[in-house]
Point group: C2
Chain length 214, copies 2
Amino acid sequence: MPKRTPTNPVRSRDAEATRLRIIEAVGRLLVREGFGALGINAVAREAGVDKVLIYRYFGGIDHLLEAWGSTSDFWPTVAEILGEAPESDPAELAAGMLKRHLQALRARPHTLEVMAWEAVTRHPLTRILDDIRETRAEQLMMAMPPPLRGVKFDLPAISALLGAGMQHLLLRSRTVDRFNGVTIGSPEGWERIEAALQTLCRALVESSVTPGTR
Amino acid sequence: MPKRTPTNPVRSRDAEATRLRIIEAVGRLLVREGFGALGINAVAREAGVDKVLIYRYFGGIDHLLEAWGSTSDFWPTVAEILGEAPESDPAELAAGMLKRHLQALRARPHTLEVMAWEAVTRHPLTRILDDIRETRAEQLMMAMPPPLRGVKFDLPAISALLGAGMQHLLLRSRTVDRFNGVTIGSPEGWERIEAALQTLCRALVESSVTPGTR
DNA sequence: TTGACATGTCACTGTGTGGTGACTACTGTC
DNA sequence: GACAGTAGTCACCACACAGTGACATGTCAA
């Protein structure tokens, strides 16, 4: 039996650094090519690491993604965009959320790019985002003044609308998809979304977001 | 050399019907699973046809998609949504386009689902949609009253914004992507989009779209 | 120094994919 | 009926992928 000797030089031998390199490779890959390009081989190539190490350290692409999700600054940014401290006035609130969206969009387009990919592909990570959305929606709902609380002013719908951007609602309309009791695709679902969109727009118009203002 | 005899029964022997079955399979697959699931093998499976026939009849997946695009009712619907006959009043126009979007969304969710997929994946078919958008944008631009024509009221940006939905802009922001002279991702690109969005919202608010009205 | 363990490398399997060549069987024309 | 052309079937190739087993080597403690 021939003795096998590695042709490539053995690398750094620093497990923690290697883990980090892998996770960072996930982020780069995700931002550059989206979830579709995410695979064991691709991540291994991007990180300059043998794919066996990915299996050994993370146990597979799903766990690797979870690790990325819990270490990267992606989810906190999402939470921030979705609205950490809701204002009391619904008009201000809607306008504020949209403003945050636009600001984040301008400052960190990669983040929302990944958010959109997530919404489109309905990746397992979607569950995490859904949880964040739901929590934020409840917070916002509770922050409403009593006459508006959850009756006509459809806060969950607005939150969903802004949460991952319109595309989330546009894309998943076919499947029976539920968000905070709104069945996306049903007539009353669309009516609620229409109403929410209108309210949002009114708030935006009345807000301080004007052209040319930075 | 052993004589080869087909184990499966030979099928209908109707080329036109087979072509149609293949094209219809593309539509079903696209609606059900999106562009990501679209492949020679998948289409062949869906159509119940040997993939060799796809190569022979269409010459590959790209040409097959073009054939689907030119025979299905997808693109006419897109053109309709993007606005066939622009109104003269910009507020009416923006509101009308958004109303058409919402109506189409409610009536035919599959169509916009495919549109969104197209926007996300930047599939070769995107070129076709871009052409439609550009044409519509020029039409709308020309239909503007003189004081508004192409100065502050950013019609191409609005058209793009509504064209494939917000997701188009959200997703492709990272790459240097040009639409009607607006470099998506550049500061002035975002400012124009912001302004366009605000104008759109004002138009929507002033339009006849009110909650509960059908 | 020696041994255990962790870290990294290589080789391999199985599966799915896009794509092509070669075969069989049907159909219409002369 | 013989023939050509077309429709359909099968077998195969090269490639990329996810996943696993086995080997080599560095590190650290006893």
